[in-house]
Symmetry: C2
Subunit: 128 residues, 2 copies
């Protein structure tokens, strides 16, 4: 079976990609790819997503230098989701400076508890 | 900040949930929840999804007994994705009998390599 035959994109031509730290399995972020972004990711061995807000390709870390080196890609049974195991350069995947975008834990009653501190100041890295 | 205020659903009223093994961090599956499924998951402490194919609530493991005991829920920076850390009863999350739905690795050229063996015979557990 070949990846291209199995890949199923949604009605917007996208597939979600779960980005996981290759070493300890922490889920760093979830973003979306179209067919060309999958191709570029495999070719460059760096995460390339489709930005739904900017409607453009998004080489993660292109401006900051904090790219994600892709160590492994997996596809699920239905072919409609990817897992990408990466080495996150700079340590943080999240635009807030946190290592993972999932830095808030849901507590009883729905209260959110922030865990850990940002590893960098997003203003300095992203200039906004 | 409260979960209900932060949660962002897509144009179908859904949010993706990455289900991760609470012990070793393996990504077991990705499924979707609507607001009510999130509420039921938190109340029952078992994964409840919205089945996009059957268009109904889906208490994972309801027929097989292989439920997912929810140990932790996390939400991402944008509020449009969840991570759920679970104890998978029966060991396998995938309907194929594999522990994880992501049992195929993408090899050079797009070839897919199956890793591991199914832990159960899906015909016996699901009857199809």
């Amino acid at each position: 079976m070949n990846l291209n035959k199995l890949l199923k994109f949604d009605d917007k031509g996208l597939i979600p990609a779960v980005v996981q730290d290759a070493k300890d399995g922490t889920v760093l972020m979830v973003a979306y790819m179209n067919r060309e972004a999958v191709r570029r990711t495999l070719k460059l061995k760096k995460s390339v997503f489709w930005s739904r807000s900017r409607k453009s390709f998004w080489l993660k870390g292109e401006s900051s230098g904090n790219v994600q080196k892709v160590k492994e890609m997996r596809i699920d049974c239905d072919g409609d989701c990817l897992v990408i195991k990466v080495q996150q350069i700079g340590g943080s995947a999240c635009h807030t400076g946190h290592r993972s975008c999932f830095y808030r834990k849901v507590m009883p009653g729905g209260r959110l508890k922030t865990e850990g501190k940002p590893l960098f100041d997003p203003k300095k890295v992203y200039g906004h």
